[in-house]
Protein backbone atom coordinates (compact mmCIF):
# COMPACT_ATOMS: atom_id res chain seq x y z
CA UNK A 1 0.00 0.00 0.00
CA UNK A 2 1.61 3.27 -1.13
CA UNK A 3 -1.28 5.59 -0.34
CA UNK A 4 -2.24 6.17 -3.98
CA UNK A 5 -5.97 6.01 -4.67
CA UNK A 6 -7.33 5.00 -8.05
CA UNK A 7 -9.79 7.68 -9.09
CA UNK A 8 -13.07 6.28 -10.33
CA UNK A 9 -14.83 8.17 -13.10
CA UNK A 10 -18.60 8.29 -13.58
CA UNK A 11 -18.16 6.30 -16.79
CA UNK A 12 -16.32 3.54 -14.94
CA UNK A 13 -19.10 3.39 -12.30
CA UNK A 14 -21.68 3.17 -15.07
CA UNK A 15 -19.99 -0.05 -16.22
CA UNK A 16 -21.05 -1.57 -12.88
CA UNK A 17 -24.69 -1.28 -13.87
CA UNK A 18 -24.14 -4.18 -16.25
CA UNK A 19 -24.87 -6.41 -13.24
CA UNK A 20 -28.33 -4.87 -12.92
CA UNK A 21 -28.93 -5.69 -16.56
CA UNK A 22 -27.80 -9.25 -15.82
CA UNK A 23 -30.30 -9.56 -12.97
CA UNK A 24 -33.09 -8.13 -15.12
CA UNK A 25 -32.22 -10.62 -17.86
CA UNK A 26 -32.41 -13.56 -15.42
CA UNK A 27 -35.71 -12.31 -13.97
CA UNK A 28 -37.19 -11.92 -17.45
CA UNK A 29 -36.00 -15.33 -18.58
CA UNK A 30 -37.32 -17.06 -15.43
CA UNK A 31 -40.56 -15.05 -15.54
CA UNK A 32 -39.99 -13.82 -11.99
CA UNK A 33 -41.92 -10.62 -11.56
CA UNK A 34 -39.35 -8.60 -9.70
CA UNK A 35 -38.05 -6.30 -12.42
CA UNK A 36 -39.85 -3.24 -11.05
CA UNK A 37 -38.43 -3.51 -7.55
CA UNK A 38 -34.90 -4.15 -8.89
CA UNK A 39 -35.10 -1.02 -11.02
CA UNK A 40 -36.54 1.05 -8.15
CA UNK A 41 -33.90 -0.27 -5.73
CA UNK A 42 -31.11 0.55 -8.19
CA UNK A 43 -32.41 4.05 -8.80
CA UNK A 44 -32.99 4.74 -5.10
CA UNK A 45 -29.56 3.43 -4.14
CA UNK A 46 -27.93 5.64 -6.76
CA UNK A 47 -29.89 8.81 -6.03
CA UNK A 48 -29.64 8.39 -2.23
CA UNK A 49 -25.89 7.83 -2.31
CA UNK A 50 -25.26 10.70 -4.73
CA UNK A 51 -27.28 13.02 -2.50
CA UNK A 52 -25.65 11.87 0.70
CA UNK A 53 -22.25 12.18 -0.98
CA UNK A 54 -22.85 15.85 -1.73
CA UNK A 55 -24.37 16.53 1.69
CA UNK A 56 -21.54 14.79 3.56
CA UNK A 57 -18.92 16.56 1.46
CA UNK A 58 -20.48 19.89 2.37
CA UNK A 59 -20.76 18.98 6.05
CA UNK A 60 -17.20 17.67 6.28
CA UNK A 61 -15.83 20.74 4.51
CA UNK A 62 -17.91 23.03 6.73
CA UNK A 63 -17.95 21.32 10.12
CA UNK A 64 -20.51 22.71 12.55
CA UNK A 65 -22.20 21.12 15.59
CA UNK A 66 -25.61 22.04 14.21
CA UNK A 67 -25.00 20.02 11.02
CA UNK A 68 -23.56 16.99 12.83
CA UNK A 69 -26.29 16.85 15.45
CA UNK A 70 -28.91 17.51 12.78
CA UNK A 71 -27.71 14.49 10.78
CA UNK A 72 -27.67 12.44 14.00
CA UNK A 73 -31.27 13.41 14.77
CA UNK A 74 -32.28 12.56 11.20
CA UNK A 75 -30.63 9.14 11.47
CA UNK A 76 -32.38 8.35 14.76
CA UNK A 77 -35.70 9.63 13.42
CA UNK A 78 -35.40 7.64 10.23
CA UNK A 79 -34.41 4.49 12.15
CA UNK A 80 -37.50 4.83 14.38
CA UNK A 81 -39.69 5.52 11.36
CA UNK A 82 -38.29 2.44 9.57
CA UNK A 83 -39.13 0.23 12.58
CA UNK A 84 -42.65 1.69 12.77
CA UNK A 85 -43.20 1.12 9.06
CA UNK A 86 -41.97 -2.46 9.22
CA UNK A 87 -44.34 -3.32 12.07
CA UNK A 88 -47.18 -0.96 11.24
CA UNK A 89 -49.83 -3.62 12.01
CA UNK A 90 -48.24 -5.15 15.10
CA UNK A 91 -46.79 -2.29 17.14
CA UNK A 92 -49.16 -1.03 19.81
CA UNK A 93 -48.91 2.67 20.76
CA UNK A 94 -47.18 1.72 24.02
CA UNK A 95 -44.66 -0.49 22.21
CA UNK A 96 -43.99 2.38 19.78
CA UNK A 97 -43.19 4.60 22.75
CA UNK A 98 -40.74 1.97 23.99
CA UNK A 99 -39.00 1.95 20.57
CA UNK A 100 -38.81 5.75 20.67
CA UNK A 101 -37.09 5.59 24.06
CA UNK A 102 -34.84 2.57 23.71
CA UNK A 103 -33.48 3.04 20.17
CA UNK A 104 -32.06 6.55 20.65
CA UNK A 105 -30.96 6.06 24.26
CA UNK A 106 -29.21 2.72 23.68
CA UNK A 107 -27.44 3.80 20.50
CA UNK A 108 -26.49 7.27 21.79
CA UNK A 109 -24.88 5.97 24.98
CA UNK A 110 -22.70 3.59 22.97
CA UNK A 111 -21.98 6.22 20.32
CA UNK A 112 -20.91 8.77 22.92
CA UNK A 113 -18.67 6.23 24.64
CA UNK A 114 -17.09 5.20 21.36
CA UNK A 115 -16.51 8.72 20.03
CA UNK A 116 -15.44 10.49 23.20
CA UNK A 117 -13.78 7.76 25.27
CA UNK A 118 -12.44 5.25 22.74
CA UNK A 119 -11.31 7.32 19.73
CA UNK A 120 -11.54 10.73 21.48
CA UNK A 121 -12.54 12.88 18.52
CA UNK A 122 -11.83 16.59 18.65
CA UNK A 123 -13.93 18.68 18.21
CA UNK A 124 -16.82 16.57 19.50
CA UNK A 125 -18.87 17.17 16.36
CA UNK A 126 -16.13 16.25 13.86
CA UNK A 127 -18.42 14.98 11.07
CA UNK A 128 -15.74 12.85 9.39
CA UNK A 129 -15.86 10.41 12.32
CA UNK A 130 -19.13 11.26 14.00
CA UNK A 131 -21.49 10.67 11.10
CA UNK A 132 -20.23 7.37 9.62
CA UNK A 133 -19.78 5.76 13.04
CA UNK A 134 -23.20 7.00 14.18
CA UNK A 135 -24.70 5.52 11.02
CA UNK A 136 -23.17 2.11 11.66
CA UNK A 137 -24.18 1.97 15.33
CA UNK A 138 -27.72 3.31 14.79
CA UNK A 139 -28.29 1.14 11.71
CA UNK A 140 -27.23 -2.04 13.45
CA UNK A 141 -29.16 -1.12 16.60
CA UNK A 142 -32.23 -0.69 14.44
CA UNK A 143 -31.73 -4.14 12.95
CA UNK A 144 -31.29 -5.60 16.45
CA UNK A 145 -34.44 -3.99 17.77
CA UNK A 146 -36.34 -5.16 14.68
CA UNK A 147 -35.34 -8.76 15.38
CA UNK A 148 -36.23 -8.28 19.05
CA UNK A 149 -39.70 -6.96 18.23
CA UNK A 150 -40.32 -9.75 15.76
CA UNK A 151 -39.38 -12.50 18.21
CA UNK A 152 -41.13 -10.95 21.19
CA UNK A 153 -44.42 -10.26 19.42
CA UNK A 154 -44.46 -13.75 17.88
CA UNK A 155 -43.63 -15.48 21.16
CA UNK A 156 -46.25 -13.59 23.14
CA UNK A 157 -48.72 -15.01 20.62
CA UNK A 158 -47.52 -18.59 20.20
CA UNK A 159 -46.42 -19.01 23.83
CA UNK A 160 -49.48 -17.32 25.30
CA UNK A 161 -50.48 -20.47 27.18
CA UNK A 162 -47.08 -20.74 28.86
CA UNK A 163 -47.23 -17.09 29.94
CA UNK A 164 -50.79 -17.53 31.25
CA UNK A 165 -49.83 -20.69 33.12
CA UNK A 166 -46.90 -18.93 34.76
CA UNK A 167 -49.17 -16.07 35.84
CA UNK A 168 -51.74 -18.51 37.24
CA UNK A 169 -48.96 -20.14 39.22
CA UNK A 170 -48.07 -16.82 40.82
CA UNK A 171 -45.25 -15.63 38.58
CA UNK A 172 -44.64 -11.92 38.20
CA UNK A 173 -45.09 -10.66 34.63
CA UNK A 174 -41.30 -10.36 34.43
CA UNK A 175 -40.80 -14.01 35.44
CA UNK A 176 -43.59 -15.13 33.10
CA UNK A 177 -41.98 -13.27 30.20
CA UNK A 178 -38.43 -14.32 31.12
CA UNK A 179 -38.00 -17.05 28.45
CA UNK A 180 -39.43 -14.73 25.78
CA UNK A 181 -37.13 -11.88 26.76
CA UNK A 182 -34.11 -14.18 26.69
CA UNK A 183 -34.96 -15.69 23.33
CA UNK A 184 -35.66 -12.26 21.83
CA UNK A 185 -32.32 -10.93 23.06
CA UNK A 186 -30.54 -13.99 21.71
CA UNK A 187 -32.18 -13.60 18.29
CA UNK A 188 -31.25 -9.92 18.22
CA UNK A 189 -27.55 -10.27 18.88
CA UNK A 190 -26.89 -13.49 16.95
CA UNK A 191 -26.44 -11.86 13.51
CA UNK A 192 -23.82 -9.51 15.01
CA UNK A 193 -22.07 -12.43 16.73
CA UNK A 194 -22.11 -14.45 13.48
CA UNK A 195 -20.73 -11.42 11.69
CA UNK A 196 -17.87 -11.24 14.16
CA UNK A 197 -17.17 -14.96 13.77
CA UNK A 198 -16.80 -14.73 9.99
CA UNK A 199 -15.10 -11.34 9.88
CA UNK A 200 -11.68 -11.31 8.22
CA UNK A 201 -11.96 -14.92 7.07
CA UNK A 202 -15.23 -15.32 5.20
CA UNK A 203 -15.54 -11.66 4.27
CA UNK A 204 -13.93 -8.28 4.74
CA UNK A 205 -16.32 -5.82 6.31
CA UNK A 206 -17.58 -2.92 4.22
CA UNK A 207 -16.05 -0.16 6.30
CA UNK A 208 -12.62 -1.75 6.32
CA UNK A 209 -12.82 -2.48 2.60
CA UNK A 210 -13.78 1.13 1.97
CA UNK A 211 -10.87 2.42 4.01
CA UNK A 212 -8.38 0.14 2.27
CA UNK A 213 -9.71 1.17 -1.16
CA UNK A 214 -9.28 4.78 -0.06
CA UNK A 215 -5.59 4.21 0.68
CA UNK A 216 -5.61 3.56 4.41
CA UNK A 217 -3.16 0.95 5.67
CA UNK A 218 -4.95 -2.33 6.47
CA UNK A 219 -3.29 -2.38 9.90
CA UNK A 220 -5.00 0.92 10.74
CA UNK A 221 -8.21 -0.09 9.00
CA UNK A 222 -8.54 -3.21 11.15
CA UNK A 223 -8.14 -1.18 14.34
CA UNK A 224 -11.08 0.99 13.31
CA UNK A 225 -13.02 -2.05 12.22
CA UNK A 226 -12.48 -3.86 15.52
CA UNK A 227 -13.49 -0.76 17.44
CA UNK A 228 -16.57 -0.15 15.34
CA UNK A 229 -17.58 -3.81 15.52
CA UNK A 230 -17.38 -3.72 19.31
CA UNK A 231 -19.39 -0.50 19.25
CA UNK A 232 -22.00 -2.17 17.07
CA UNK A 233 -22.18 -5.12 19.45
CA UNK A 234 -22.63 -2.71 22.35
CA UNK A 235 -25.25 -0.67 20.49
CA UNK A 236 -27.27 -3.70 19.43
CA UNK A 237 -27.08 -5.26 22.90
CA UNK A 238 -27.90 -2.16 24.90
CA UNK A 239 -30.69 -0.98 22.60
CA UNK A 240 -32.33 -4.38 22.44
CA UNK A 241 -31.92 -4.98 26.17
CA UNK A 242 -33.58 -1.65 26.97
CA UNK A 243 -36.34 -2.36 24.48
CA UNK A 244 -37.07 -5.82 25.87
CA UNK A 245 -36.91 -4.72 29.51
CA UNK A 246 -39.45 -1.98 28.84
CA UNK A 247 -41.31 -3.70 26.02
CA UNK A 248 -42.49 -6.84 27.81
CA UNK A 249 -44.43 -4.66 30.26
CA UNK A 250 -46.68 -3.44 27.47
CA UNK A 251 -48.10 -6.95 27.11
CA UNK A 252 -49.50 -6.83 30.67
CA UNK A 253 -51.94 -4.51 32.37
CA UNK A 254 -51.53 -3.01 35.83
CA UNK A 255 -53.30 -6.02 37.35
CA UNK A 256 -50.49 -8.26 36.10
CA UNK A 257 -52.86 -9.80 33.55
CA UNK A 258 -51.84 -10.62 30.01
CA UNK A 259 -53.53 -8.03 27.81
CA UNK A 260 -56.03 -9.66 25.50
CA UNK A 261 -56.11 -12.79 27.60
CA UNK A 262 -59.85 -12.80 27.14
CA UNK A 263 -61.72 -16.00 26.76
Amino acid sequence: MNGEVLELSIWQVLLGYVFVLLVLFILKKRAIKREKVVIIATLRMTVQLVLVGFVLTYIIENPHPFFTLGVLALMEGFAIFTVFRKFKDTLTPSLKRVVMISLPSGSLVVLAYFLFVVIQIEPFYDPQYFIPIAGMIIGNSMTGITLGINTMVNRFTDQKEAVMEALHLGATPKAAAHPIINESFDQSIMPTINNMLGMGIIFLPGMMTGQILSGVLPTLAILYQIGVMLGILGGVSLTTYLFLQLGYKTFFNNRAQLIDSNE
Binding site: A162, A166, L167, H168, G170, T172, A175, A256, Q257, N262
Partner: protein, 213 residues
Protein backbone atom coordinates in the same frame (compact mmCIF):
# COMPACT_ATOMS: atom_id res chain seq x y z
CA UNK B 1 -63.85 -15.93 52.11
CA UNK B 2 -64.97 -14.78 48.65
CA UNK B 3 -68.07 -12.72 48.08
CA UNK B 4 -69.20 -11.86 44.57
CA UNK B 5 -71.48 -8.84 44.37
CA UNK B 6 -73.29 -8.15 41.09
CA UNK B 7 -70.33 -9.39 39.08
CA UNK B 8 -70.47 -9.36 35.31
CA UNK B 9 -67.80 -10.21 32.76
CA UNK B 10 -68.44 -9.55 29.08
CA UNK B 11 -71.53 -11.48 28.05
CA UNK B 12 -70.19 -14.60 29.76
CA UNK B 13 -71.04 -14.00 33.38
CA UNK B 14 -73.68 -12.11 35.31
CA UNK B 15 -73.73 -13.21 38.94
CA UNK B 16 -75.90 -11.37 41.43
CA UNK B 17 -74.48 -12.97 44.55
CA UNK B 18 -72.15 -15.84 45.41
CA UNK B 19 -70.16 -16.89 48.47
CA UNK B 20 -67.19 -19.17 48.94
CA UNK B 21 -66.65 -20.14 52.53
CA UNK B 22 -63.25 -20.59 54.13
CA UNK B 23 -62.19 -24.17 54.79
CA UNK B 24 -65.06 -25.55 52.71
CA UNK B 25 -65.32 -27.31 49.38
CA UNK B 26 -67.40 -25.46 46.83
CA UNK B 27 -68.35 -27.18 43.59
CA UNK B 28 -69.41 -25.40 40.43
CA UNK B 29 -71.44 -27.50 38.06
CA UNK B 30 -73.45 -26.87 34.91
CA UNK B 31 -73.27 -27.19 31.16
CA UNK B 32 -70.02 -26.30 29.45
CA UNK B 33 -69.74 -22.71 28.26
CA UNK B 34 -71.89 -21.57 31.17
CA UNK B 35 -69.16 -19.45 32.79
CA UNK B 36 -67.80 -21.80 35.49
CA UNK B 37 -64.16 -21.44 34.41
CA UNK B 38 -64.56 -17.67 34.24
CA UNK B 39 -65.60 -17.65 37.90
CA UNK B 40 -62.35 -19.41 38.82
CA UNK B 41 -60.28 -17.01 36.75
CA UNK B 42 -61.98 -14.05 38.41
CA UNK B 43 -61.23 -15.50 41.85
CA UNK B 44 -57.57 -16.01 40.84
CA UNK B 45 -57.50 -12.46 39.43
CA UNK B 46 -56.45 -13.83 36.07
CA UNK B 47 -59.44 -11.78 34.89
CA UNK B 48 -61.18 -8.81 36.45
CA UNK B 49 -64.94 -8.18 36.36
CA UNK B 50 -66.32 -5.50 34.07
CA UNK B 51 -68.84 -4.55 36.73
CA UNK B 52 -69.47 -5.40 40.35
CA UNK B 53 -66.86 -6.39 42.86
CA UNK B 54 -65.34 -9.44 44.46
CA UNK B 55 -64.33 -9.39 48.10
CA UNK B 56 -61.58 -11.66 49.42
CA UNK B 57 -61.53 -11.86 53.19
CA UNK B 58 -63.60 -8.68 53.23
CA UNK B 59 -61.25 -6.69 50.97
CA UNK B 60 -62.05 -5.60 47.43
CA UNK B 61 -59.89 -7.82 45.22
CA UNK B 62 -59.27 -4.92 42.86
CA UNK B 63 -57.14 -3.35 45.57
CA UNK B 64 -55.06 -6.47 46.21
CA UNK B 65 -51.69 -7.10 44.63
CA UNK B 66 -52.43 -9.56 41.84
CA UNK B 67 -49.24 -11.61 42.08
CA UNK B 68 -49.39 -11.95 45.87
CA UNK B 69 -53.05 -12.94 45.57
CA UNK B 70 -52.34 -15.62 42.97
CA UNK B 71 -49.61 -17.11 45.16
CA UNK B 72 -52.23 -17.68 47.81
CA UNK B 73 -55.25 -18.44 45.66
CA UNK B 74 -53.93 -20.98 43.19
CA UNK B 75 -55.65 -21.80 39.93
CA UNK B 76 -55.29 -25.12 38.16
CA UNK B 77 -56.30 -24.98 34.52
CA UNK B 78 -58.34 -27.73 32.91
CA UNK B 79 -55.67 -28.03 30.23
CA UNK B 80 -52.53 -27.16 32.16
CA UNK B 81 -49.42 -26.16 30.32
CA UNK B 82 -46.18 -27.96 31.06
CA UNK B 83 -42.94 -26.08 30.59
CA UNK B 84 -39.95 -27.36 28.64
CA UNK B 85 -37.83 -29.78 30.62
CA UNK B 86 -38.30 -32.71 32.93
CA UNK B 87 -41.01 -33.68 35.40
CA UNK B 88 -38.77 -32.39 38.19
CA UNK B 89 -38.16 -29.05 36.50
CA UNK B 90 -41.89 -28.58 36.07
CA UNK B 91 -42.49 -29.29 39.75
CA UNK B 92 -39.77 -26.87 40.86
CA UNK B 93 -40.95 -24.18 38.46
CA UNK B 94 -43.95 -23.30 40.58
CA UNK B 95 -41.72 -22.89 43.64
CA UNK B 96 -39.38 -20.69 41.59
CA UNK B 97 -42.31 -18.47 40.61
CA UNK B 98 -43.20 -18.13 44.30
CA UNK B 99 -39.59 -17.34 45.22
CA UNK B 100 -39.72 -20.34 47.54
CA UNK B 101 -36.72 -22.59 48.08
CA UNK B 102 -36.60 -25.70 45.94
CA UNK B 103 -37.44 -28.98 47.68
CA UNK B 104 -35.61 -32.29 47.71
CA UNK B 105 -36.15 -35.09 45.21
CA UNK B 106 -37.69 -37.18 48.01
CA UNK B 107 -40.39 -34.59 48.61
CA UNK B 108 -41.07 -34.41 44.88
CA UNK B 109 -41.26 -38.18 44.53
CA UNK B 110 -43.65 -38.38 47.49
CA UNK B 111 -45.86 -35.78 45.87
CA UNK B 112 -45.88 -37.70 42.58
CA UNK B 113 -46.94 -40.84 44.47
CA UNK B 114 -49.61 -38.85 46.28
CA UNK B 115 -51.24 -37.82 43.00
CA UNK B 116 -50.71 -41.29 41.51
CA UNK B 117 -48.17 -40.34 38.86
CA UNK B 118 -45.69 -43.13 38.28
CA UNK B 119 -42.98 -41.26 36.39
CA UNK B 120 -39.32 -40.68 37.01
CA UNK B 121 -38.41 -37.14 38.01
CA UNK B 122 -35.94 -37.08 35.12
CA UNK B 123 -38.57 -38.03 32.53
CA UNK B 124 -39.21 -35.39 29.84
CA UNK B 125 -42.50 -33.66 30.59
CA UNK B 126 -43.48 -33.53 26.93
CA UNK B 127 -43.81 -37.33 26.84
CA UNK B 128 -46.68 -37.36 29.34
CA UNK B 129 -50.22 -38.33 28.34
CA UNK B 130 -53.21 -36.04 28.97
CA UNK B 131 -54.05 -37.70 32.28
CA UNK B 132 -50.42 -37.65 33.41
CA UNK B 133 -50.19 -33.96 32.56
CA UNK B 134 -53.15 -33.27 34.83
CA UNK B 135 -51.58 -35.27 37.67
CA UNK B 136 -48.24 -33.50 37.28
CA UNK B 137 -49.95 -30.12 37.19
CA UNK B 138 -51.88 -31.05 40.33
CA UNK B 139 -48.66 -32.07 42.09
CA UNK B 140 -47.09 -28.79 40.99
CA UNK B 141 -49.81 -26.67 42.58
CA UNK B 142 -50.08 -28.76 45.77
CA UNK B 143 -46.36 -28.14 46.39
CA UNK B 144 -47.11 -24.43 46.51
CA UNK B 145 -49.16 -24.81 49.68
CA UNK B 146 -51.70 -22.08 48.93
CA UNK B 147 -54.65 -21.26 51.18
CA UNK B 148 -57.19 -21.61 48.39
CA UNK B 149 -57.25 -23.93 45.40
CA UNK B 150 -59.31 -23.23 42.30
CA UNK B 151 -59.48 -26.36 40.20
CA UNK B 152 -61.04 -26.49 36.78
CA UNK B 153 -62.03 -30.07 35.93
CA UNK B 154 -58.75 -31.40 37.34
CA UNK B 155 -59.54 -34.96 36.29
CA UNK B 156 -61.23 -34.46 32.93
CA UNK B 157 -58.60 -36.41 30.98
CA UNK B 158 -58.77 -39.50 33.20
CA UNK B 159 -60.79 -42.70 33.08
CA UNK B 160 -63.51 -43.21 35.70
CA UNK B 161 -61.37 -45.10 38.21
CA UNK B 162 -58.44 -42.67 37.98
CA UNK B 163 -60.82 -39.74 38.15
CA UNK B 164 -62.31 -41.00 41.39
CA UNK B 165 -58.82 -41.50 42.85
CA UNK B 166 -57.74 -37.98 41.89
CA UNK B 167 -60.90 -36.28 43.16
CA UNK B 168 -60.57 -38.17 46.45
CA UNK B 169 -56.92 -37.14 46.64
CA UNK B 170 -57.83 -33.49 46.17
CA UNK B 171 -60.63 -33.69 48.72
CA UNK B 172 -58.35 -35.51 51.17
CA UNK B 173 -55.63 -32.89 50.75
CA UNK B 174 -58.11 -30.05 51.23
CA UNK B 175 -59.69 -31.50 54.38
CA UNK B 176 -56.46 -32.65 56.02
CA UNK B 177 -54.70 -29.34 55.45
CA UNK B 178 -57.73 -27.16 56.17
CA UNK B 179 -57.63 -25.56 52.71
CA UNK B 180 -60.44 -23.93 50.77
CA UNK B 181 -61.33 -25.57 47.47
CA UNK B 182 -63.46 -24.33 44.59
CA UNK B 183 -63.76 -27.01 41.97
CA UNK B 184 -65.44 -27.00 38.60
CA UNK B 185 -66.69 -30.46 37.75
CA UNK B 186 -68.87 -32.00 35.10
CA UNK B 187 -69.98 -34.64 37.60
CA UNK B 188 -73.02 -33.88 39.73
CA UNK B 189 -72.18 -37.06 41.67
CA UNK B 190 -68.76 -35.84 42.79
CA UNK B 191 -70.13 -32.38 43.50
CA UNK B 192 -72.94 -33.64 45.70
CA UNK B 193 -70.82 -36.37 47.28
CA UNK B 194 -67.78 -34.32 48.28
CA UNK B 195 -68.67 -30.62 48.23
CA UNK B 196 -70.11 -28.58 51.08
CA UNK B 197 -71.82 -26.17 48.72
CA UNK B 198 -72.80 -26.76 45.11
CA UNK B 199 -73.52 -23.91 42.72
CA UNK B 200 -75.20 -24.73 39.44
CA UNK B 201 -74.20 -22.15 36.86
CA UNK B 202 -76.18 -21.78 33.68
CA UNK B 203 -75.76 -19.13 30.98
CA UNK B 204 -73.51 -17.14 33.28
CA UNK B 205 -75.97 -17.00 36.18
CA UNK B 206 -76.31 -18.93 39.42
CA UNK B 207 -79.28 -21.18 38.83
CA UNK B 208 -79.24 -23.19 42.03
CA UNK B 209 -77.36 -23.33 45.35
CA UNK B 210 -77.29 -26.53 47.38
CA UNK B 211 -75.80 -26.83 50.85
CA UNK B 212 -74.77 -30.46 51.10
CA UNK B 213 -73.43 -30.57 54.64
Amino acid sequence: MFTLESVSYKDILDIHSMHVEEGKITALIGASGGGKSTVLKLLNKALSPDEGRILYKGRDMDLLDSVAHRRNVIYLNQRPHLFEGTVEENLQKGLDFHNKPRVSKDVLSDMLSYVGLRKQLAAPARQLSGGEVQRLALARVLLLDGDVYLMDEPSSALDDESERFLVETIVDYTRRNNKTLVMVTHSRFYAEHYADIVYTIKDGRVEEVQHER
